[in-house]
Amino acid sequence: MTVDRFAANTFARRGVPLIDGIEKVTGRARYTADLDHADALVGRILRSPVSHGDIVRLDVSKARALPGVVAVITGEDCPHTYGVLPVAMNEYPLARDRVRYRGEPIAAVAAIDAETAEHALSLIELEINKLPAYYTSEEARVPGATLLHDNKPGNLEREVHHEFGDWREGFATADLVREESISCAEINHAQIEPHACLMDYDPLTGRLTVQSVSQVGYYLHLMLARCLDMDTSRIRVIKPFIGGGFGARVEPLNFEIVTALLARAAAGKVLMKLSREETFITHRARPQTDIKLRLGMCRDGRITACACEVVQRGGAYAGYGIITILYAGALLQGLYDIPAIKYDGYRVYANLPPCGAMRGHGGVNTRHAFECLMDRMARDLGLDPFAVRRANLLHAPTRTLNDLMVNSYGLAECLDRVEKASGWRDRIGKLPDGKGLGMACSHYVSGAAKPIHWTGEPHAVVNVRLDFDGGITALTGAAEIGQGSSTMVAIAVSETLGVALDRVTVVAGDSAVTPKDNGAYSSRITFMVGNAAIDAARRLKAILTEAAARKLEARPEDVEAAGEVFRVGSGEQSSLPFADVVKAALVDRGAITVSGSFTCPPEAQGGKHKGGAVGSTMGFSYAAQVVEVSVDDATGMVTVDKVWTALDCGHAINPLAVEGQVQGSVWMGMGQALCEETRYLDGLPAHGSFLEYRMPTIAESPPIEVHIVESHDPYGPFGAKEASEGALAGFPPALVNAIANAIGIDLNEIPVTPDRVMDALIARRRQARLAETVRAAS
C-alpha cells in the first residue's frame, strides 16, 4: 500500500490515526515498567495494616541489616507534606506519627532484587495504637467523632454554601416541586497500566532524573523539589508512554516521592512497580457521593429553582477534594438556564484511601441526580424528556448565575441528533415490557480557566523549531496519555503551516527540553495547548512567508502557503517548494525556534465569590445521549443494547480521535452506572483486582453511535472545545431513566448491579402484595 503524504491532511472530515499509534500496536512503545532498569534497585513499600492509629514504634534496623538491602526510609526521612493544591497539602509521602487508612505507606525499601526487598519489609517492626475508624460520611460526621486531622472539625475538609438568585421565590412559583436522594458508589479509574516509576539519583552531580506515569509532570517536579529539599533545576522529569490516566495521575502520588527519596538514600536508580492492588489503594478517584436534590418546575417544563446538597466521602487526605466539592456545585450550571440555585456541599474525611479527580471531575454524580430527577418530573407533568430539556436551553454567548462564560452552545443540535438517530419519537412508550429508552444531557469544561498555581505565566506554551533538515519539531509539556494530545498538536501545527502532518515531530513531556505545561487534566490540552501550538505555528509561518516573499520578490501578505508550496497568485513561476523556503528562512539566522502561548483572560476566570474560579472555562462541551436497555426481571440483569451520543466539541480537529474519546467516555460512564464500584471491608479494599473491580468487558459493550456536533467556539483552536469528558456524565442518568422506562422502577443508587435491581423488584412485589391485601380487606 502506498501512502499519499498529503492524504493525512485530508483529516478535515475523517481524521487521522494517532501519531504514536504504530508504536503502541506494534509493542515498540516503552512504558515506565519497560524502561531500561538493568542496574536499578527494586523498591517496595510497607503499608499500614490498620485504618487509623498512632505509630508507637517503627524499627527498621533488622531490615537495614539484611544483606542486599541498600536503603530503608521512613516518615523520618521526609518532614514535608505534599499535595496538588497549595492550600491543602496535609499528607506525608510516608506516614509520620499517624496512619489514616489501610494501605497508607509507612516505610520503603530499596534492595538488589524483589525477593530481598520483600524479605526486608517483613523484618520491619511496627506497632500502632488503634484509633476509631470511620468508613462512611455519616459515621465520620457524628458529633464527637475522633478527628482525622486536628485542624478539621467535624471531619470536614470543606463546606461550600452558595446561593444564586432567589431560590425561595423559584420554588414558591413552581407548579411542581420534587426532591430525591440519590447516591453513587465510589469508583476508580482502573487505568490499564499499573503505577510505576523509575527514579535515578546521581550522587556525584546531585541530580535526579524522574520517569513516571504522571499526567502532571510539572506538579510532580514541584513536589519532588519540595519533599527532597532540592533545587528544581537539579530535577529532570521525563514522561514515557503512559497506559491511561483518567485522573489517576493528575496529582503527584506518594509512591513517586517515596521512590525519589529511596533513590537518593540509595545513591542510585530505583524502580518501583506497584501491584494492581496497590494501584487501587493509591486511588484518587471519584468519591462515594450522597445527593439530595430538589427542583422546581413549571407545567411547561421550565426549571424555576434548584436546591442541591452534596456529601462526598473524600477519604483520609485532602488531595483535590476542595475542587471536587466546588465542581459538584458549579457544574449544576452551564448546561441549562436555571434562574436560582442553592448549593450546599460537604467534603468529608474518612479512613479510606484518598479520593481525587476522575474523568468528569466533580460533575458526574450531581449531573446524574439532576438528569434523573428532571426525567421523573417530566413524567409527573406528562412531558417528553426531550421537551423538558428543550424548555431550559441557554443561548450563547451568555454568563451563568455563577459567572461562567458560555461562548458556544450546541446542545439543541445534540438533542435533535440523538432524538432522530434513536427513533425516539416512534419508539418511546411502544417498546415491549422489560425494554426501555432513556436520555440525558451533560457538559464539561475545556480546561480550568484559572490555574491551580497562580504564577502569572500563560496557561500554555508551545515551542516550534525548524532547522536545515526541514523537519518541524513541536515541543510541548502536554502529557500525551493516550488521549491523542500529541496528534492534536501535530495537526494544529501542520494545518497552520500548510505542511504535511508527518513533517511535524512532537516531543512531549521532558522538562529538560519542553516548555512547562500544567498537564493533562480538566480537558485543557486541546483548548489551551492547541491554541498555543497554533500561535507558535503562526509565528513560524510569518518568518517563512517573509523569506518566501523575499525570494519571490512579492509582498508577504500576497504569499499563500498550502500543500508545502508557498506561492503568489496561481502562477507556476511564482511558487517556491517548502525546502527552498526553509533554506531562505535560515539565511543569516540559522535554526529557528519560536514560542507560542495561550492565556485565559481574567473575565473568563469565574465569579468573585469564594471558590468561584472552579468551573470557569473558555468553552463548555455539550452532549446528549439516548440509551436503550433490556432488564431481566427474574435476575435483575440490565443489558445495554445501544447508545446514541451527540457531542458538541466546537470543531473536531481530529474526528477519528473525537469519536474514540466520546466512545471512551460513554463506556466509562457505563462502567460507573452498570457495575463498577470500590468496596471496603473494614477499610480493606475488596476490589483490588480486575476480577473484583468489575469494569465492563466487551461482552457488556453496546454499539455506541457517535454524532459530532460543531458549534464553532469563538475562542477554541479552529473553533474546537474538549471532547474527552463531556459525554460521560449523561450515561448513568440515561441508563437509570431507561430502566425506569423498561420496568417502571426509579433506582436511586448506582451502579445498578443485579442485586440492587433485584432488591427494588422484590420491594415492589412486596408493596403490590400489601396493596392487594389492603384492597381485599377493604
Binding site: 503499608r47 495494616p49 490498620v50 489501610r102 524483589a114 525477593e115 520483600e118 501491584s275 492492588e277 496497590e278 427474574a634 435476575t635 435483575g636 440483569m637 457495575c675 468496596r679 471491608l681 473494614d682 480493606l684 479494599p685 475488596a686 476490589h687 483490588g688 480486575f690 476480577l691 473484583e692 468489575r694 465492563p696 468487558t697 466487551i698 461482552a699 457488556e700 448491579t753 443485579p754 442485586d755 433485584m758 432488591d759 422484590i762
Partner: protein, 327 residues
C-alpha cells in the same frame, strides 16, 4: 501486592504413574494443568507448594472418546475444546453451555476439565493478597482462626463456583481417579464435601483422570448470573436436566454451583415425576431451590440475591426445557 514465586520445582511426568510417583516423592506437591486457578492463588500466597507437577504432557488425559453411547472426557481436555466439541453440544447441552461460559476465552484455552472440577472454593476474605489477609488476621481457610463470613461458626463457608460440575451432576457423571492406592471410579457427587476448607474428597496424591457420561441423557441446560457477561465467577449457576413423557415430568434433576461450598444436586425433585410443568410446579421448584441453596457473605453481591437468582434460574431453565420438549 503480589507474592513472588521463587524456588519452585516443576515436574513434567509423561504418564499418570510418573505423576503419582512424583507426588509420592515430594509430599505436598500440587498437580497443575492450565494453572488458571492454582497460579492465581499461589501469586496471592495461597496454595503454597514446593513442587508443581505439570499434567499437560500426559496424552491419556486429553482425549474425548465415545464408548457404548456414552462419552469419556479426559481430565486434561481444555474447557475450550469441550465447548467446541459438536458431540458434547448435541447430547450434553448443559455441559457445552457451562464450558462456553467459563471465565474468558484466554482462561478457557488454558483451563482443563479436571482443573475446573477441582477448582478451589472462593471467598472475598480468602482470595486476597498476603498483605490484605494478614491485615485481617487471616481466616479459617488459611492460617487464621475464624471465618469472617460466619464468625460464630466452626466451618469455612467459601463457595465452590466451577461451572462444569453442576452440568455434569445433572447428567449423571462419574469420575475416574488415580492415586497411590490404584484407580477407582465414583459418582461425581461423591467428589464434593460441604466444607469450604476441604471440599474435595481426594486423598493426597490422587488426581482425576477422566469423566464418564452415561448414554442417552435427558435434555439439559446450564445458565448462571454474574455481574459481567465474561470473566466473573458465577454468583449462582444452575444446571437442569428434564426428561418428559406425555407432557409430564418423567425425571427432573437440578444442580447448583456458586451458592454453597460444593456443587450439589437439589434433593426432592423425584416427587415431581408425573406432574405437569405449570405455575404451581415452577413455584415449588423455586421454593425448593431457595431452601437448599445456602449462600453466605462470600461475595460482594448479597447472599440473598444469589439464593433468589438461583431459584429464578432453576425455574426458567425447567420451563424452557419443558417448552422445548413440546416442540
Amino acid at each position: 501486592m503480589t507474592t513472588l514465586l521463587t524456588g519452585l520445582r516443576l515436574a513434567n511426568p509423561n504418564s499418570v504413574e510418573e505423576a503419582i510417583a512424583a507426588c509420592r516423592d515430594r509430599p505436598g506437591s500440587r498437580f497443575v494443568a492450565g494453572g488458571t486457578d492454582l497460579l492465581v492463588n499461589m501469586r496471592h500466597g495461597l496454595s503454597a507448594t514446593e513442587q508443581l507437577i505439570d499434567l499437560s504432557g500426559i496424552d491419556e488425559l486429553t482425549m474425548i472418546a465415545t464408548n457404548g453411547g456414552g462419552v469419556t472426557i479426559g481430565a486434561g481436555v481444555t474447557v475450550a475444546a469441550l465447548a467446541r466439541s459438536p458431540g458434547i453440544a448435541a447430547q450434553y447441552r448443559a455441559l457445552a453451555e457451562a464450558a462456553a461460559g467459563v471465565a474468558g476465552p484466554g482462561h478457557r484455552n488454558m483451563a482443563t476439565v479436571g482443573g475446573n472440577l477441582c477448582q478451589d472454593t472462593r471467598c472475598i476474605y480468602y482470595n486476597q493478597s498476603e498483605w490484605w489477609r494478614n491485615a485481617n488476621s487471616f481466616c479459617l481457610k488459611h492460617r487464621g482462626e475464624i471465618c469472617h463470613v460466619a464468625p460464630q461458626g466452626k466451618r469455612c463457608h467459601a463457595a465452590y463456583s466451577g461451572d462444569l460440575a453442576p452440568a455434569l451432576l445433572v447428567l449423571g457423571a462419574a469420575i475416574e481417579i488415580a492415586g497411590p492406592q490404584g484407580r477407582r471410579t465414583i459418582p461425581l457427587s461423591e467428589l464434593y464435601v460441604e466444607d469450604g476448607l476441604a471440599h474435595l474428597a481426594l486423598a493426597e496424591g490422587e488426581l482425576i483422570l477422566a469423566i464418564q457420561l452415561p448414554p442417552a441423557p435427558p435434555p439439559s441446560a446450564y445458565t448462571k448470573v454474574r455481574v459481567r457477561g465474561a470473566i466473573d465467577f458465577p454468583l449462582a449457576g444452575v444446571a437442569v436436566a428434564l426428561a418428559t413423557a406425555d407432557a409430564k415430568v418423567a425425571s427432573l434433576q437440578i444442580a447448583l454451583t456458586g451458592t454453597n461450598s460444593r456443587p450439589f444436586v437439589v434433593a426432592g425433585t423425584q416427587d415431581f415425576a408425573g406432574r405437569a410443568v405449570d405455575e404451581y410446579l415452577l413455584k415449588e421448584i423455586e421454593r425448593l431451590v431457595q431452601k437448599q441453596a445456602q449462600p453466605m457473605r462470600t461475595t460482594i453481591a448479597s447472599a440473598n440475591y444469589r439464593r433468589v437468582a438461583a431459584a429464578a434460574l432453576a425455574r426458567r431453565l425447567t420451563a424452557r426445557l419443558f417448552a422445548e420438549s413440546a416442540v
